[in-house]
Amino acid sequence: MAAVVLSEAEKLYIVHGVQEDLRVDGRGCEDYRCAEVETDVVSNTSGSARVKLGETDILVGIKAEMGTPKLEKPDEGYLEFFVDCSSNSPELEGRGGEELGTDIANTLYRVFSCENSVDLKSLCINPKEHCWVLYVDVLLLECGGNIFDAISIAVKAALFNTRIPKVRVLEDEEGTKEIELSDDPYDCIRLNIDEVPCVVTLSKIGYRHVVDATLQEEACSLASLLISVTSKGAITSMKKVGKGSLDPESIFEMMETGQRVGKSLHIALQKILDEEENLGTSRPKVGFLG
């Protein structure tokens, strides 16, 4: 991750601030920066979303394509994640960003590995033969700290925005199956995102932990916990990152904080997605030129 270098005195200032629940930008330990969410920003995708969380800028595009189901799950579709961080900084160009990209992609696979997160059976067209594969492409446009949370919010928003065309399977006399796409472009199926989890990263700074760390705060934290939480507060996966160690007591505390914060995150996100949906076509599209 592109990290900033800080002097010892600056790090000390940040650590003491966190102990007193007053971070450098005035937030408390459990406050998020103001986030901007917009869906349907890329026109030739099935669904897309852009999330700006402080300095962090993420773009997610989802394309639905037809493929063959996996052997062990013949009546389900699946998701494929690909993360690109090359536009972030010179050191992440080419091969450099690959390590970070695969790391993020593996985390996303883990977060979505829970069976209920996305209704994969609805993505099946013909068991064992055809199914919808959702290719989720994540673009890290700018890294300002806390990229995992921003990515998971963007993926959830993009899944909400995804429209998969309805298909009918026709069987003729010889038994060969033909797939017919509906003529109406608005005739499509939407995904149910109620169970899609969001990632909450809790960084341990000093004796306390903070949510939504900036780059400077990440430089002061030795260990972090990534928790994926659903809207009902159920934890679907957990991962510890960083070279420092975490006390089991503090892990429990961080999990509780993660659940609380995760639920608020889902409520806020659902509210904004519904608001955007209700505006319909009258919504002023900002995109990348705002």
């Binding site: 002097s7 010892e8 102990q19 998020y32 901007e36 917009e38 608001e275 955007e276």
Partner: protein
């Protein structure tokens, strides 16, 4: 209680400044024709093509008699001699340090240019060379001012720095804000002790350092022993508020100097510190600060 706010993006409308200050500014983009009059000399940011003077950067056209140049709105720091800058040590080399100052090249700080702890002034010996990391390490922040360049060594244009006075030196606890160098107004002094309870160093290179005002002006410290005691909560609130106000002014491209920062701080007092960065609150306090600045100008 966790606070999570999300919003839909809104295209940012420029602040309505109904009274043009000092006449209309001639803004150009790269490729715009400035003038077709051939009597002008071309300065920085312009080039001549087909007898027309064309801008090569986006900025404001400045004319001094026959010289026309374009001052870019956003760019790396191009220093003048005598500027105050805040920088971060990136490398420790033989007899000198490399410092990052948001300019095209890293600046150079020679071992012979610094004051040793305790205020000693003596020739630096071989032991001092080996102990360079004890004074300044990678990651440390320092404030100093620019000296004339030594022509033979720095013919590549790198900037030479100079921290002779005890007022400059290593910075201790505080917050660094990085802004574009074009937003920092040139003033007589760049070290300000604001009445709200914190102090600010407005580096000409766009690095702004906000720190708690030291109680007594400690001249013997020499600037290398950092005060590592926790900063009290009241000072922290002032510093966080100042940091958010500076970010608000930067978002709306207002020039940064002690009065503008102070007016913005006073306008932000009714709001909570973390709310200052919300777009609607930012706009409100910046408009109020701008209005006060216009009123005070006359």
């Amino acid at each position: 209680m966790a606070a999570v706010t999300m919003r839909l993006p809104a295209a940012r409308a420029p602040l309505d400044s109904s009274t043009p200050r000092g006449g209309e500014k001639h803004l150009v983009a790269p490729g715009d024709t400035i003038t077709t009059d051939t009597g002008y000399m071309r300065g920085h940011g312009t080039y001549v093509e087909d007898d027309k003077l064309i801008a090569s950067v986006a900025g404001v056209v400045e004319r001094v008699n026959k010289l026309v140049c374009v001052r870019a709105l956003k760019g790396r720091y191009n220093g003048e001699i005598g500027d105050i800058v805040v920088g971060r040590i990136t490398e420790v080399q033989q007899k000198r340090w490399k410092v990052e100052t948001n300019s095209r090249l890293d600046s150079v700080l020679l071992l012979s240019s610094i004051n040793l702890p305790g205020g000693e002034l003596r020739r630096k010996s071989a032991e001092d060379e080996l102990a360079m990391r004890d004074y300044l390490q990678e990651g440390d922040l320092i404030s100093w001012h620019r000296q004339a360049e030594v022509q033979s060594i720095f013919s590549d244009g790198a900037v030479s720095l100079h921290t002779r006075s005890l007022k400059y030196g290593k910075l201790a606890q505080g917050v660094l804000v990085q802004v574009s160098p074009s937003l920092v107004k040139r003033q007589k002094t760049h070290f300000h002790d604001l009445p709200c309870g914190a102090s600010v160093i407005l580096g000409n290179n766009g690095f702004i350092w906000i720190y708690p005002t030291p109680e007594q002006k400690d001249d013997e410290a020499g600037g290398y022993t950092a005060n590592l005691e926790p900063v009290p909560l009241s000072d922290r609130e002032v510093i966080s508020r100042l940091r958010n106000c500076i970010m608000a002014l930067v978002t709306h491209k207002i020039m940064l100097f002690d009065t503008s920062i102070l007016y913005c701080y006073e306008a932000s007092l009714p709001h909570q510190i973390k709310d200052i960065l919300k777009p609607e609150v930012t706009e409100e306090i910046v408009l109020e600060a701008q209005q006060r600045l216009l009123d005070s100008e006359g």
